[in-house]
Symmetry: C2
């Protein structure tokens, strides 16, 4: 048992004792808790000195990794040129609003028809508070943020395969109140009945009963869980003589809850990247791309597709094709930072070594599908009081229906109708956009009576069918992390790679930014040498 800190005067004392009592783990934990930097080590760009003047860096891709590099290297005086295949910057950092167009490989052209002020973030859609790298730039570039509601206990949980609770509009608050209440009751009674005397002494028992009574909202007398305000009332408290003081609504049965396996939709706490407080930029995630573009846009050449990548002892040579005219041109630089997703890079003509090329090919990219549905009435708010957050469901191919954290109480709203992966995403992507919408509506209609009748228009994406991405994000395995990851991080010669794929934050904007920070530090070291 860790010692108490009675008599402790200073932090330093505490740290010494922590190390003595709890070893380095406790020491580091304490240091971390006090903000002494281990966990926040990579929350700022590398502090680099010296000048890049006279040196040129070619950056392939104007996503966040590329633009981060352009910005930071530009500050150091490097001549930077960014090559971007699309007509706009941001990479996967996109937002679909009125007029936004997308044509997937082998698919129809979609043009988003959402009303002014409404949008869907069909790429990244939330920023964890722990991602200080992303937040570094939103702060620096003054991108206004708002809360993205990622946890809402009033949201519905709908399980088609939910045993005794199948096809019911359960609320997270009810499920958590009741499962935790019943479990606390079971344990408390067992403790009280001396069934756990093998593990607990008298002192333990008293403290544990105290904890369980609070966690489970147990009756002081009989230790039973009988409901609580947090699960909702039979009649909500109001004013005047009606309604009365508000008795809690009746709990769901313990066996029903266990048999339904609904407990799997939550856990003691959210996982690290999913915890309150999460953010989104006001007006769409692409505001981050716009902010970067404002800083480095003049260095970006748009509509230029990379055709070949070559290098020799002195320089890197990249040929690009102008997407509009088809015209080819050749660009040289001292160094190259290639941020092209590996899924695309492996199809480009390069002179990397066979070993490097194998590494590029070693990583799978995740098929991902998303659909935004504009609804003419915010029925989830008006009828169900669900403000932001996720409706979790096992309806095939849906995973989650997420309601927007913007335009509160307005007339209309765009919700996320599905967010699917792997086989589900491949199947859905085979559907035409209207058929994808129909698929989403059929599912949503089972949960919300007003779903189909409120629908106005949709915009969907299947990232594995997007030409310059061919997948949502990189999916490493233990094996490929061991074999290919170090090779790719090392780069080759005058060419380094960067992007979410070269991080442990795959699929997150922070992965792209932090990879870029690392790689520009290495480029700078090489350039200065």
């Amino acid at each position: 048992m860790a010692g108490s800190d009675k008599g402790m005067r200073t932090r330093r004392d505490f740290l010494y004792r922590a190390a003595a009592v709890g070893g380095s783990a406790l020491l580091l934990n304490t240091m971390n808790a006090w903000g002494m930097g281990i966990a926040s080590r990579v929350s700022a760009p590398p502090q680099l000195s010296g000048s890049g003047k006279g040196k040129k860096v070619l950056i392939l891709g104007a996503g966040l990794a590329g633009m981060t590099a352009a910005y930071e290297l530009g500050k150091l005086g490097y001549e930077v040129q960014v090559i971007e295949a699309r007509s706009f910057a941001g990479g996967r950092c996109q937002t679909a609003r009125k007029g936004f167009q997308l044509q997937e490989l082998g698919g129809q052209m979609q043009e988003c028809r959402f009303d002014e002020g409404h949008y869907i973030n069909h790429g990244p859609w939330r920023i964890p508070m722990h991602h200080q790298s992303t937040l570094h730039y939103t702060r620096l570039f003054k991108v206004p943020l708002e809360v993205m509601v990622n946890e809402n206990d009033n949201a519905i949980i709908y399980l088609e395969q939910g045993g005794p609770l199948a096809k019911q509009r359960l609320r997270g608050a009810q499920v958590k109140s009741d499962l935790r209440g019943h479990v606390a009751e079971l344990l408390a009674k067992s403790v009280k009945n001396d069934q756990l005397d093998a593990q607990l002494n008298a002192g333990d028992k008293a403290l544990l009963l105290d904890y369980l009574a609070n966690e489970g909202h147990l009756d002081a007398g009989d230790l039973r869980y009988k409901g609580r305000s947090g699960r909702g009332y039979k009649t909500n408290p109001g004013a005047g003589m009606l309604p009365g003081p508000g008795e809690a609504s009746d709990p769901l049965g313990f066996r029903d809850l266990l048999a339904s396996k609904v407990g799997k939709v939550y856990s003691a706490v959210q996982d690290f990247p999913m915890q309150n407080t999460m953010f989104q930029p006001v007006g769409g995630m692409d505001q981050i791309a716009r902010a970067f573009e404002k800083q480095v846009g003049r260095t970006i050449r748009y509509g230029a597709e990379v055709q070949t990548i070559r290098q020799d002892a002195n320089k890197v040579t990249v040929t690009v094709k102008d997407a509009a005219s088809g015209k080819l041109s050749s660009l040289n630089a001292d160094y190259c930072l290639c941020t092209i997703p590996l899924s695309v890079l492996r199809m480009i003509d390069t002179d990397f070594s066979p070993r490097f090329k194998d590494a590029v090919k070693a990583v799978a990219y995740m098929p991902v599908g998303k659909i935004g549905l504009q609804m003419k009435r915010r029925f989830w708010e008006e009828d169900d009081q669900i403000y932001g957050g996720h409706i979790v469901t096992d309806l095939k191919g849906i995973n989650v229906i997420s309601v927007p954290s913007s335009n509160w109480q307005k007339q209309k709203g765009v919700l996320l109708g599905y967010y699917n992966y792997m086989l589900d995403a491949i199947e859905t992507s085979a559907l035409s956009p209207p058929a994808r919408a129909e698929f989403a509506l059929s599912a949503g209609q089972q949960i919300f009576p007003a779903y189909r009748s409120s629908f106005e228009s949709s915009f969907s994406v299947a990232w594995h069918r997007v030409q310059y991405n061919l997948g949502g994000w990189a999916e490493w395995t233990d094996e490929s992390r061991k074999a290919a990851y170090p090779i790719l991080n090392e780069g080759e010669g005058r060419i380094l790679l960067a992007g979410e794929h070269l991080s442990y934050l795959t699929g997150w904007q922070a992965g792209a930014i932090e990879s870029s920070w690392q790689q520009i530090e290495r480029i700078h070291a090489r350039a200065q040498a």
Copy 2:
């Protein structure tokens, strides 16, 4: 055990079965879950028909109860006159920003000196999603809302009296992860060891173990809780070759956690009014008051203090004193809705019956103190990654330090330095404003190293010392609810009362609004008869 719903085709079928299996409780619960209205009964103003033309209603007080009445009765054609003692409307719905002045009884004049764009909601500061009455008007009057972060597991818990964990900057996520993990481990092992066979059959055991493994993040092999991403990492995952895959930081010890009693700061779910998603108006809570004022401001006479209230068979007569000139005037009306807090009303000269006067005197009002502290740097975000939410502490007289859910990532911010009640509030209120700030800074400095050095200016309120309130809100007891509450709701003759005090939502804006809805319905019924 409730039956499964295999073979169920329609909602109607389900309801019949629910009633048969689970009785009326399950039936009502299901109806409620499907939005069939019991719990949402009072989320809209009363639907009243007929006209109030030719009838005059005097409304005492331009807080939310008064202005709600003025708006709704005005729509029905009543001639409405609102008498307000202050120079502005809103009652307790106030926001302190630059230039806002407050002089407490027996106190110094305070003038808020916060920077432009910064403020403190020193009265109501959050709107529960369940308070559909408040949200009715924010929607109707198009008051823009933003999320008020009311639960943030990255916020610090600081217990001076925390046993083995005293004076440590604990994080909610760690405490929840660890306590729930350890408890799940204890229970899972007990179940596995057949120690709970008295309560659980084999099927129960398997399902329960399944649940506990997920809730507690238990090791599949040995059922031990060894930490999880949700409690934080030893080193955060990042990019490139460092840091590595991110091992969870080490859990706090089970006995330490229990002995510290830190578990009392959370529970299975938040209580009903405190659940995600909570709101605040953009730019300050008083935006609600401003929106009402826009609708009914022309009916409000400001700076007019009620002196006497009299009635006879035909009319109500109220004399008011003009606060500026001291001039007295007399006003008549057919009916009167008095929304003056009982704490103040009992000191006004009225001709209520002794029974009614006793009822007015029967209710205590809560002493409440709040202080806003402007900090020149948002150290809670920059150093600790705490974005909105509450730092819970047992430091005497503080209760909570709450950080703002606005101005994300800006340079400065105003935080709530304490929110105290009863004796603590009385003691703090005896201090001068600078001394109150010093008290708050001394406490906060124990948690945040940058607290004192970041401080710029403060604005504090002790509601029990505010002339027209004499308390934060009404505090009913079981006894006074039985004895006095019905009498006050009934009103007397041509005079009805309304306000948060005549609700089961005391201290909430919804209480004032819903009380007002009820009482205007009764006034209208009397007027039409």
